[in-house]
Symmetry: C2
Subunit: 151 residues, 2 copies
C-alpha cells in the first residue's frame, strides 16, 4: 500500500481528520457569523449551559484553548451581559461562571444552528455508523494521550 515510515496524505487518517475538522469549523462559523458569534464563543456558552459554574480554566480545557484565551473571551462575554462571574472564589482561586438569561437566549438560537450542521454532517450515516465514528474518535484520543503527557 505505502512505504511503512511515510505519510500518504489522501489516505492518511490524520489528514482526513484535519480536513473534517476544518470543514466542520468552516460550516459552524458560517452559521454562527450571522448570529454575531464564533466557534469558541458558542462553545463557551454551550459548556456553561450543560455544566453551570465552570471556571475559566475548565472552560478553556473544554473548548481546547488556553486559559489565557478563554479569559479574554469571558471578559467580553461578561461585558456583553451573556455570562456572570463570581466576584471572589468560595474555595481556591477558581471563579465559577454562569449564563445570564440573555446568554441563555443567545445560546438557544446558536445551538439549533450548530445542531443542524451536525445533522448535515452525518446525514448519510446509519445509526451504527454515527455511533461507530464517535467510538473510533474517542479511542483515537485515548491512544494519543496515553503515552504523551502533552494535552
Amino acid at each position: 500500500m505505502q512505504s511503512p515510515d511515510r505519510v500518504h496524505l489522501p489516505t492518511s487518517v490524520g489528514y482526513l481528520l484535519k480536513e473534517a475538522a476544518s470543514a466542520l469549523r468552516s460550516a459552524m462559523e458560517a452559521v454562527l457569523r450571522p448570529l454575531g458569534m464564533n466557534v469558541t464563543h458558542y462553545s463557551c456558552l454551550e459548556l456553561l449551559a450543560q455544566r453551570p459554574g465552570l471556571s475559566n480554566s475548565e472552560l478553556a480545557r473544554g473548548a481546547f484553548v488556553t486559559r489565557q484565551s478563554m479569559n479574554v473571551l469571558l471578559v467580553a462575554l461578561e461585558r456583553d451581559g451573556l455570562v456572570s462571574r463570581a466576584e471572589h472564589a468560595s474555595s481556591g482561586r477558581a471563579l465559577p461562571t454562569e449564563l445570564t438569561p440573555k446568554g441563555r437566549r443567545q445560546l438557544a438560537t446558536a445551538s439549533a444552528a450548530v445542531w443542524a450542521v451536525e445533522v448535515r454532517m452525518t446525514a448519510s450515516f446509519s445509526d451504527a455508523e454515527r455511533a461507530g465514528l464517535g467510538d473510533l474518535l474517542s479511542r483515537a484520543v485515548s491512544s494519543l494521550r496515553a503515552e504523551d503527557p502533552a494535552a
Copy 2:
C-alpha cells in the same frame, strides 16, 4: 437519548471530532517542535514532496489555511532555503514551488516523526476500523461541503 434540536457535548460527533483534531495537533506539535517545525510548516513540505510544483494557493487549500497565511510561511521557507519558487509564472499568476535538497532532508525526519504519531493514534484499531474511520470522515466532509459553498 437527547432532545432533537440540541447538542449533547460528550456524545456529539462534532465535539469528538474537534477533540480528536486538537489532540492530534498537540501530539504533532510535540514531536515537530524539537525539529524546529510546526504543523503548517510540515504540511507544506509534505504537500510539496507528494505534488511538486504546487502554487501558493494550492498549498493553502491543502494545508487548510488562507493563501495569505501560506504566503508568509513560504517566504520564511524560501529564506531558510527549504523551498524554491519560480521567479515568474509560465502561465497565469501561479508561481510553482518545489522542495530543495535541504527541504527534502528536513522533511524526511519530520515525516517519520509524524508517521509515528499517526501509528500511535490508530494503534488499537483493526485494519477494517482504520479504513472505516477514513471512509466515515471522507463522507462527513462531502456532506458538509454539499450544501455549503463555504470552504
